[in-house]
Symmetry: none
Subunit: 217 residues, 4 copies
C-alpha cells in the first residue's frame, strides 16, 4: 500500500517530535479559528496523525490549548528578555533595537498568534489569561519600564510615567501583530511592517527624548 520510504518517513518523525507537531498545528488553527471553532480532527490532520493519536499526548482539547499557550510563552518572553539583556549601549539605541528585535523574533513569527489568542479567548479561559498576564504582560511591562528608567537616569528621556508609557509602547507592537493576522484573514494587503516600525520608533523617540536634536533619523 505504502512505499517503503513513506513508511520510513512515517516512523522517523516519532514520539519526541509528535507533541511539537501537534502543538504547532494546534497553534495555527486556534489562532485562525479560535478555540471553539477549531476541530481536533483538523489539528490532527494538519500534524499528519489521526484523531486518536492526539489523545496520546494531550488528554483533552482544553489541555491541548493550555499546552499551546504554556509551551509558547516561555520562548516568547525568553526571546524578548534575551534581546533586552544582550544589549549594551544608549537607551535610545536599545529602544530601537528592542522593537525591531521583538518584531523579528516574535511579532513576525507564529509566536504572535499567542498574543492574538489571549485577546480572543481570555473570556473563555480566564485562568490561562491570568497566567499569560503574569508571565508575559507583567514581565514585558517590567522590561520596558526598566528601559525607560534607564533612559531617564541617563538624561536621555524625559521624566514620564513609566508604567503608562510602557503600555503606550506595547500598543503599536501588539496591534502590528493583530493587524497582520487580521489582514491575512481578510486577504487584504497588510500594513508594511518596516515603515510602520520606523515611523513608530521615530515618533515615540521624539515624544520621549529630552532633547529631540539627539534623535537624528
Amino acid at each position: 500500500m505504502t512505499s517503503i520510504s513513506t513508511v520510513k518517513i512515517r516512523w522517523e518523525r516519532r514520539k519526541d517530535a509528535r507533541p511539537q507537531e501537534l502543538l504547532s498545528a494546534a497553534l495555527d488553527l486556534f489562532v485562525k479559528s479560535g478555540y471553539a471553532g477549531t476541530r481536533l480532527e483538523d489539528v490532527a490532520k494538519r500534524a499528519g496523525v489521526s484523531k486518536g493519536t492526539l489523545y496520546l499526548y494531550f488528554s483533552s482539547k482544553e489541555e491541548l490549548f493550555k499546552a499551546v499557550v504554556r509551551e509558547n510563552i516561555l520562548p516568547m518572553i525568553g526571546e524578548a528578555e534575551q534581546v533586552f539583556a544582550q544589549y549594551q549601549g544608549s537607551s535610545i539605541d536599545l529602544f530601537r533595537y528592542f522593537i525591531l528585535g521583538w518584531w523579528e523574533r516574535i511579532g513576525d513569527t507564529k509566536l504572535s498568534g499567542i498574543g492574538k489568542l489571549m485577546m480572543s479567548e481570555a473570556g473563555n479561559f480566564p485562568e490561562i489569561a491570568r497566567f499569560y498576564h503574569a508571565e508575559i504582560i507583567t514581565r514585558s511591562t517590567a522590561m520596558i519600564t526598566n528601559l525607560l528608567d534607564r533612559g531617564i537616569a541617563s538624561g536621555e528621556f524625559r521624566k514620564v510615567d513609566t508604567f503608562q508609557t510602557a503600555q503606550l509602547i506595547k500598543a503599536p507592537m501588539m496591534m502590528m501583530m493583530l493587524w497582520q493576522h487580521f489582514y491575512s484573514a481578510c486577504q487584504i494587503e497588510p500594513i508594511p511592517p518596516k515603515e510602520y516600525l520606523e515611523n513608530f520608533i521615530d515618533i515615540y523617540l521624539r515624544g520621549l527624548l529630552n532633547d529631540p536634536k539627539n534623535h537624528t533619523h
Copy 2:
C-alpha cells in the same frame, strides 16, 4: 397556509422590530465567548425571549452575527465622524478632542466589542471582516490622515507619513479597548484610562509637533 399579507406583515416586522435586546445580548456574548462559543439559547435568555423567538428575527446564527456587526458599525463610524466634523479649532486640540471623544463614545462603550470581535473572528468571517475593514478601518484611517494633513498644512505638525502615522495613532486606541476587555475577563485591575489617554496624547503630540513648545500640558 399563510396569506400573502400575513407574510408581508411578518417581513415588515422582521425589518423593523429586529429588537435591540437581541442584538445587544448577542453582542455581549459574542464579545465574551466568541462566535462559536456563544449559544443562541444564552443569547435568547439574556434578551428575555425564547430560543424560537430569535429565529423570528434572524434566520441563522451567522445572520445574527452579521447583524450584530452591521448594526453597530454605523453608530461606530457615525459617532466618530460626528466627533470629528463638529470640531472647529487647532489641529492640536482636534487631536486631543478626537481621542478623548472616541474613548467616551466608543472605546468606553459596548461598541468597543465590535472591534474586539473583528480581531477575533476575522479568520472565521473574512467577508464580514472585509466589510468592517472597508467601513471602519479605511474610514477611520482617512479621518486621521485628514487630521494630520490639516495639521501639517497649518504648520502645527511635522511632515510625517500620514498613512503610517494614522496606524500608529489607532494602535493605542484599539489596544485600550482590547485591554479593557482582557483585564475584565481576567478580573485584574484594568489600566486607568484617563492617565493612559493623557500620556498617549502628550507623547504623541510631542512626537508630532513642529515646535514642541506649543504643546503645554
Copy 3:
C-alpha cells in the same frame, strides 16, 4: 409525510409521559445489555424519540441510570410493604402470601430487572448499590425478620436466627428473578414459577414450623 393521526399520537404522549417512556425503555435495555453495553440511541429509539430528546430529561447516561434505579425502587419496596401490611392472619399464611404476592407484583414484572441490574452493576456504581442496599435490601430483610418474629412469638415457627433465615428466604426469590432473565436471554425453557414457588413454600415451612403437622399442603 406523516398522517394527521400519526402527528396527533406523536403529540398526545407529551412532556409528562416522556420521562416514563424513557425510563421504561432504559430499564429494559440496561437489564438486557448492562450499563456500558446500552446505547442511548437505542434507548431513545425504543422510547420513540430521538437521541437529543433524551437529554431534555436526563443530563447524562449516568443520571438516566440513577433515575431508572431511583424511580423503580419506591414502587418496588412500596408494593412489597403493602402486600405485607395488608395481611391479617396466621404467620404461615402470611409467609405464603408474602412470597406469592411478591412474585406477582415484583418478581414477574419489569421491576425484577432492578434487582438484576444491581447485582450486575454494583461494581460500577457502588453509590447506587449502597442506596439500593439501604432502601431495598435492609427494608425487605426487616419485613421478613418481622414476619419470623411474629411467627415465633405466636408459637408457629421454631426459634431460628431470624436475620440469617431472612437471607435464606430472600435467596430463592431473588434467584427466581435472575433465572427468569437468564433463561429468557438464553432462549431456554424457564423454570416454571408456580411449581418452583410452591415447592419453595412447602420446604421452607416444613423447615420453619414448630409442628410440621400444622403444615398441610
Copy 4:
C-alpha cells in the same frame, strides 16, 4: 512474509501458553466491571503485560471473554463433581458436605465470579450462556437431583419434586456468591458465610427429612 513453520509455532504457542495471568486478570475485571465496562488495557496491566501481548493469546475481546468462561467452567464443575463423587455415607451427610465443600472450593473463590458473570452477561452472550447452562447448570442440577434421589431411595428424604428442589437448593448457594460480590462492591459488611450456610443446611434438612428427629444439629 512469514514461513509456514513460523505460523505453526506461533499457533501452537497460542494454544499452549495462553497464560493464566491474563485469564485471571480478565476474570477479575469482567466480574468487577462487566464485559463492556472492562478495558483490555486494564486487563493487560493487571497481568503485567502490554496491550499488544494480550493479542498474542486471544484474538479479540470476545475470545478472551469466552476463554475466561470456558477455562473456568471445567474446574468449577470438576471440583463440584469431585466433591460429590468422593463421598460415601448418608445422604444427609452428603448434603451437608456438598454445600460446605462447594462453598470452600467454589463459592469462596474467584470461580464464583463466573456465576456472577453469566447472570450479568447472558443478554450479551446468549451463546456462552447456553454453553454455561449445558455445562454447569444442567450438570449441577443433575448432581443434586441425584443426591435427592439417593436420599429418597434410602428413606432419608421425603418424596419431593427433585428437579424443583434442586433449583431450591442451588438458590441460596448462588445468592451467597452474588451477595459476596455485591457487598464487596458496596464496601458493606458481608453476610457471615458460616452462619448462613449452617442455617441453610439446618432449615433445608428439616424441610427435606422424612423424620426430622434424624436431624440433630
